[in-house]
């Protein structure tokens, strides 16, 4: 596993990297997921969970809402769209950091989501997708008599 020219310092960096990865996996269980993306990928996505359902926030500013395509198959959510940035032909650009073009993100949701109960709204550049959990999967308070 260790090549003979590996220095103790490199081994130490490798150990630290592994520790950071482990830390993030416990903090956000999906960050090590096969569909996770490097930071800075457009659009950024946050997923929040409540006992009734899940809310997916897609940070996609200035996207024509008609260009969004949202689909949920079983528990796999796919969001795609196109972001067209206005181009100034006569201008001198100093920075072009903003993303333009087509995008797609796929997010695995927990397995108890109900694919028939999805709602999406677009506001202030965030596409908010609400998915409900299946009735049977919701936690129920058990009364004690």
């Amino acid at each position: 596993m260790f090549s003979y020219f590996e220095t103790p310092l490199l081994a130490e960096f490798r150990r630290m990297e592994q520790e950071f990865d482990d830390l993030f996996e416990t903090w956000a269980p999906w960050s090590g997921g096969i569909r996770s993306l490097p930071s800075g990928t457009f659009p950024a996505v946050n997923v929040g969970s409540t006992p009734d359902g899940l809310t997916v926030y897609v940070f996609a500013p200035a996207v024509d809402p008609k260009s969004f395509e949202v689909s949920l198959q079983e528990n796999v959510l796919s969001v795609s769209g196109k972001r067209e940035l206005a181009t100034e032909m006569e201008a001198t650009f100093y920075r072009q950091e903003r993303f333009g073009g087509t995008f797609r993100r796929i997010v695995t949701l927990p397995e108890d989501v109900d694919p028939d109960k999805v709602e999406a709204t677009y506001r202030d550049g965030i596409l908010q997708i609400s998915v409900r959990r299946r009735e049977s999967a919701k936690p129920r308070q058990i009364e004690i008599h």
Binding site: P43, V45, N46, P51, F59, P61, A62, T92, Y122, G125
Partner: protein
Amino acid sequence: MSTETQVTQSKGNGSAVADSRRAGASESVLRPPVDIYETAEGITLQADMPGVAKDRLNVRVEGNNLLVEGSIGVAPQEQMTALYADVRSTVYRRRFALSNELQTDQIDARLKDGVLTVTIPKRAELRPRRIEIKS
């Protein structure tokens, strides 16, 4: 601790767009990606700040700096826990050094669908004029 870096300073028309990077800021802040371009009339800056509504946006000139600040207004629902988060802060902040041929009292800022557009005109006497060549 903060470090300021002057990024571009072109000769002649003196278009200075600088960028400040806060190293080791205690509070975690999102740095919005920007496009900055210059036309004959002035400089335009566009910043992606999804989730920021007009009342949570703050654009101001501080000395020689343009400060852009905003916070994400999505109200977290009760009992919500984060399952996954690319965005781990609710505050956007970025600072740009202005240059003195810009009319900082004439700044126009607009916000639409999470994108801030700031236009800063150049002083009229500094806009490029076409020089006529007489025969």
